[in-house]
């Protein structure tokens, strides 16, 4: 299997990472657009009639031929939802969700999540900087470039994953810098944050820039694995302000490192995390953690899914352990946390990737196992 290949979540056939549909069974591949309600069976004429044709205007039902290439209906003018508004990647044992939220006009977050050879997972989350030009293009370009480098590294140099992560960030930087865009007044060039994880052999190699985060929800206790490149973090680090004071400042969430043509120089953050026991690695954009910055709180929220599940054995006091056993499917956890962020206000785009890890256990199940 080539490094840029992945496994179809539906039929386990090998597919190219760049493919949108599985060659074998036709299922939608990474990243999947929310499929919405399944097409009504033809035996049910009533349901059939109520279903708009695929590609029809979501507002007035005008046929696909009237929905223009610029995304506006040529009949009622309504802006059609972008496929990026809500996407899910469901690879069974691991999953990701990205959502536009309630206030932003588009989803400027992007994510990649794939099984590469053996039980190895590559995950990337980027959050486009809203005050830059075309941040949605920046995040997508960064995610695509980094995922390709990481997948390649897993295949050819699995012992150099930290260096591969540095290379992946450099590749993302090159991809975003080479984007062609129309200047808009004083707005800076396309920019985004970055966080990646390669989970291989029970350990996680992480890389990041900006304020997208990785959390560990597991023993010995839930914890944040990344430090933000943000004004608040830097002020607290210099000791000139307490963390609380810095967080209360309007500049608190201004990021100090990012990917983009005008990004400051310097090495990205790269580290390898070795879990003490089974738990869940979570990557997310600030659309989630703005509402739940604490690792304990996120673990509690994630654990609630398992508790709510039919066979959650551990009760509310055991959130971290309850996940690793696969009690709650990864997609349920990612969806649950997305809904939490939406219910909390959904002021920003939300992206969440959920990767259960059991360092002592058998290799992670691939969908084909």
């Amino acid at each position: 299997m080539n490094a840029t290949e992945m496994v179809c979540p539906s039929c386990a056939a090998v597919a190219l990472a760049a493919d949108r549909f599985c060659e074998s069974c036709g299922a939608t591949l990474n990243p999947t657009e929310d499929p919405g309600p399944a097409p009504a069976p033809t035996a049910d004429p009533e349901a059939d009639a109520s279903q708009p044709a695929p590609g029809a205007c979501v507002q007035c039902g005008a046929g696909p031929e009237l929905v223009g290439g610029d995304g506006y209906c040529q009949q009622c003018g309504f802006k059609q939802p972008s496929p990026r508004d809500h996407q899910e990647i469901d690879l069974k044992a691991v999953a990701g969700v990205t959502d536009r939220g309630l206030h932003h006009r588009r989803n400027e977050d992007a994510m990649a999540l794939a099984w590469v050879v053996e039980p190895t997972v590559v995950a990337v989350v980027c959050d486009g900087v809203s005050t830059s030009i075309d941040p949605d293009m920046a995040s997508q370009a960064a995610v695509d470039a980094a995922a390709e480098v990481l997948a390649e590294a897993v295949r050819h140099r699995p012992d150099q994953l930290e260096q591969a992560t540095v290379d992946a960030i450099a590749s993302a930087q090159a991809a975003v810098t080479s984007l062609v865009y129309e200047p808009e007044g004083q707005l800076p060039a396309p920019s985004c944050t970055f966080v990646s994880a390669v989970v291989h052999g029970g350990r996680a190699t992480l890389g990041w820039l900006g304020d997208s985060r990785a959390y560990w929800l597991g023993p010995p206790h839930p914890q944040r694995l990344t430090t933000d490149d943000s004004w608040a973090t830097e002020m607290a680090a210099t000791g000139s302000m307490t963390e609380g004071e810095a967080e209360a400042d309007p500049r608190a969430h201004s990021i100090t490192r990012w990917i983009g043509a005008d990004a400051p120089d310097g090495q990205p953050h790269v580290t390898t995390f070795v879990p003490a026991g089974p738990g869940t690695l979570l990557l997310c954009s600030d659309g989630l953690w703005n509402y739940a910055p604490d690792a304990d709180r996120i673990a509690e929220l994630a654990g609630a899914v398992a508790v709510g599940g039919a066979d959650g054995p551990d009760g509310p006091e055991g959130p971290s352990g309850s996940l690793a056993g696969g009690t709650a499917p990864a997609l349920s956890v990612a969806r649950h946390l997305t809904h939490f962020a939406l219910d909390s206000g959904g002021r920003d785009n939300i992206t969440i990737i959920v990767i259960p890890i059991d360092p002592a256990g058998p290799p992670q199940e691939t969908p084909s196992a």
Partner: protein, 426 residues
């Protein structure tokens, strides 16, 4: 090869429940001048000179008209088709004397000058008749750019008022006509009606001595336009109402009544011939209300030349509960809304003054002074100062002048629709 570009200036964010979308669209043409055209553009110029008896009182009027016409003919590009009409209670073709059109050349220009020198003032005024003859002449070269100059010094009293309206309706989009009134015995509203219907300008030349320079400028502008019949095409969504489409720069022209439907959602508005220039349009579209977070295309504007859409710009509506976004004022829209209000206040204020309603006149002209000052419209500020004494421009406090020259009042009225452009930042 000409290129048209269109850009939208608007605040697309609307508070919940709002349905009115306002935008200013700036259209800029490049390579549309006569020298930019790959092949010389065919053009027809018809000059219509009022030869009614009053043009002899004072005789400087008919003398200046003869001189200005000769100069204008001298400015015609070689090869441009032209004709001269003498207007009385009928229309008489002065040149070419055999009827029809001739191409400009050193010889025809000299011959025309000799005929124009023989123009005498004697007869009535029937503007409709003059335009009918001009229309017939233009029809002989249907593919060319058609431009006319119409000069009068009096009221159109040689025919039924409805007749002029019928003629204007029939001539619409056949040719463009710049109208000039010499002296102060003509009627501003009447000449404005002709200019508006025929996509031309209107102005007062109170002193006949100014005619020559003005004619020359008009011909030079006409010769500089090489792209004909440019149409502004507007698509608006189902259920939307196009409240108005106005040209707002260089002067205010309401194009709304000139609408022709292309299909149920698309309409064309004629903008005439273009040279290398830039014009602004103010669009107001009422759309169906959306929910917070919805985005709708409220208008799609394109410029159509020879049935080919040349460029496109979008007018959007995005509903938001963020008042910081929805209360932002777009400077271009605010500026031209103010300029339209300025023109309206001047016209209504002068009308009230004529009717003896000094209170209304003072309020309207005071508001005009205030708006002109706010917009930095110095030309209009100067014209207003000849009609009112300004006590405080910022609050619009004015007193009506007791003695006002007819020419000053007519100049203010005529030029009320001339706008100044907003200095575009970034």
């Amino acid at each position: 090869m000409s290129t048209f570009t269109a850009e939208t200036y608007q605040n697309e964010y609307l508070p919940e429940g709002t349905t009115e979308v306002n935008a200013v669209v700036t259209v800029t043409a490049k390579g549309a001048g006569a020298d930019g055209a790959s092949a010389p553009t065919e053009a027809v110029e018809v000059i219509v000179i009022d030869c009614s008896g009053s043009m002899d009182y004072p005789p400087s009027k008919i003398r200046a008209a003869r001189q200005a016409t000769t100069t204008a003919i001298g400015c015609l590009r070689d090869g441009v088709w032209f004709a001269v009409i003498a207007g009385t209670k009928t229309a008489t073709q002065v040149f070419p004397p055999t009827g029809g059109l001739v191409r400009a050349s050193p010889q025809t220009r000299a011959e025309a000058g000799a005929e124009v020198a023989r123009l005498r003032a004697n007869g009535g005024t029937a503007i409709g008749e003059w335009l009918v003859l001009a229309d017939q002449l233009f029809a002989q070269q249907p593919a060319a750019i058609h431009h006319a100059i119409l000069l009068t010094d009096g009221k159109d009293e040689g025919e039924y008022p409805q007749y002029l309206d019928q003629v204007l309706a029939a001539c619409q989009s056949h040719f463009q006509c710049d109208c000039r009134g010499v002296g102060t015995d003509w009627v501003v509203s009447e000449l404005r009606k002709v200019a508006t219907a025929l996509l031309g300008t209107v102005d007062i030349i109170a002193d006949p001595a100014g005619l020559e320079a003005d004619f020359q400028a008009m011909i030079e502008a006409a010769m500089g336009k090489a792209v004909n019949n440019v149409v502004l095409r507007l698509w608006a969504p189902q259920g939307a109402d196009v409240m108005f489409v106005k040209q707002v720069s260089p002067n205010i022209e309401d194009l709304t009544p000139k609408r022709t439907a292309v299909n149920p959602l698309t309409a064309d508005f004629p903008t005439g011939a273009w040279g290398d220039e830039s014009r602004d349009y103010h669009l107001c579209i009422k759309v169906r209300a959306g929910n917070v977070g919805d985005e709708m295309l409220a208008g799609r504007v394109s410029l159509v030349v020879d049935d080919q859409p040349q460029s496109q710009t979008l007018v959007k509506a995005i509903w938001t509960d963020d008042t910081q976004l929805s209360t932002r004022i777009n400077q271009a829209v605010a500026h031209y809304t103010g300029q339209a209000e300025l023109a309206q206040n001047i016209q209504e204020g002068l009308e009230a003054r004529k009717q003896g309603d000094e209170e209304t006149a003072t309020v309207k002209l005071g508001r005009a002074v205030q708006l002109a000052a706010e917009a930095g419209n110095e030309a209009t500020t100067k014209l207003l100062a000849k009609v009112v004494d300004v006590e405080d421009a910022s609050s619009g406090t004015v007193r009506l002048k007791r003695q006002v020259e007819d020419a000053d009042e007519m100049a203010l009225d005529t030029r009320s629709t001339k706008t100044v452009r907003l200095g575009k930042s970034t």
